[in-house]
């Protein structure tokens, strides 16, 4: 596993065509921590992750990872720089088998590391090991979420971006997924940026919380402090 790294987003503005979505957003995700990005629908959470992963070019601002500014790089190059994005709606390639989805992630590693990394993944995600030869499209929602997280880990990332990993999952599975994310931080020291509608659950496992509203950062604080701020919770987080 590669060493984790600090990701800094500085004064980033971006949008879709002429429609601005992010306005001068600055966040710092410290190495080996979970940063929860929260906010209502349309706040710009998903857009922020898409700017970081290179899918959207920012109109201004910088994205720094270990001394390199990634702003404006293509997604494939951002991925090669060590940022893995698990997109909203999961992003399983349903036509490939479970094993092929994982092998695709492993292609970013040196050939000599691949089989050991795959064995590690199967060890951590036993449900995937059991279904390795099945088409990924046959997996349940929870299993698909495990697969895309496992596939992201297969790329040997330094920063993991997770967009709504609990979306559409049963409450029990949501707990399992969030436990997994928390465990990943402990086991691997990954830097994780977690976008989540379920603010209460996200803050429960995060180190830092960031609240976006209409494309701007309105609060940045330790997760526990945010969770305790009743006015902020009511106004922006809905719990």
């Amino acid at each position: 596993m590669s060493e984790s790294a600090t990701l800094e987003v500085r004064e980033v503005s971006a949008g879709y065509g002429a429609v601005p979505v992010l306005r001068g957003v600055t966040i710092t995700a410290q190495a080996g921590t979970i940063t929860a990005v929260l906010g209502a629908n349309g706040a710009g959470k998903t857009t922020l992750l898409r700017v970081i992963d290179g899918s959207i070019k920012p109109s201004q601002g910088q994205i720094w990872l270990d001394g390199a500014n990634l702003a404006g790089r293509r997604p494939e190059n951002v991925s090669r720089a060590g940022i893995a994005h698990v997109p909203e709606g999961q992003g399983v390639i349903t036509e490939l088998t479970v094993a092929e989805n994982l092998q695709l992630g492993l292609l970013l590693r040196p050939r000599s590391e691949r089989s050991a990394a795959l064995a590690d993944i199967y060890n951590r995600f036993s449900v995937l090991a059991d279904r390795r030869s099945k088409a990924a499209g046959t997996l349940s929602g929870g299993e698909r979420q495990m697969l895309v997280i496992a596939r992201a880990l297969a790329t040997d990332p330094r920063v993991l971006l997770l967009d709504e990993p609990s979306l559409g999952l049963a409450p029990k599975i949501v707990r399992d997924v969030l436990d997994l994310i928390s465990q990943l931080k402990t086991d691997t020291g990954l830097t994780i940026i977690l976008v989540e509608q379920n603010a209460r659950s996200a803050l429960a496992i995060a180190d830092l919380g960031i609240v976006l509203n209409l494309g701007s950062v309105v609060a940045t604080a330790p997760a526990g402090q945010l969770a305790a701020d009743e006015a902020l919770r009511r106004h922006y987080l809905g719990f």
């Binding site: 991925s79 090669r80 092998q103």
Partner: protein
Amino acid sequence: MVEFLEFTLQGISAGMIYAAIALSLVLIWRGTRVLNYSQGALAMLTSFIALEIEYRTGNYWFAFVGALISGLIIGGAVERLVTRQVINKPPLNAVIVTIGLLIGIEGLAGVFFGGNNRSFPTPFSPVGLSIGSVALGITRNDIFIAGAVLLAAGLLAVVFQYTSIGLRLRATAFNLPVARLLGVRVGGMLTLGWALAGLLGALAGMLVSPSTLLSPNSMDTIFVLGFTAAVIGGLESPGGAVVGGLILGIVLSYAGGYLGSEVVNLFGLAALLLVLMLRPTGLFSSAPARRV
């Protein structure tokens, strides 16, 4: 019975050529959702290149390899220089661009190579084989055609199924945004897909030109029949393309043999219409019906 066997074997040989064109269309469709109407014209162009090489060297196999290499290069160049510009545009743009390519390539071929039919060499004897006094209705060249297409299809299947390049190609075809997020250089994969399609088209051109003769428009009918085979196979399925080509080849061979050669093209178009009306997803695709 001998006649039936003869028509069947001839159908398999012709069907393999339709299968090669169908495979090339499927490769491009899966990767870019573009139906390349210029695929036949590209095959014609590489066949003319091969013919020039053959004239200059007197060696069929130099010409054969030259055609395949030029197919690779031209196919890749068309993707990089032309069709990439319309990939995220409305589907009609790609249709018009590839039809424009078809017209442009055929026009240029007429200018550079002339509009007359030109004979094309075969690597093996075109004399019919027989067992004792019973003529089989096929030639050594027909066997070469079937073998070459099966070998190409087999090699492609191995590359797609068992190599990392094949995995990247499939990932790009199935889900391009996710492939990019996993570090796949999708631009290169799209170019490679078109290049491989160009190679298959070149192979089809080399195999069919001895029987159709070569002219700027000589691949038009073959393209339509290859397209029909691809539609029968479902457009998504390489295996379906091969089976679709075989079905079409055999059906047309029976139609031509029993009813007369003048009905062959009519039957080809009727087969296309029937499949589009009754099972627009083709026989081997589980994808939702396409709008046609």
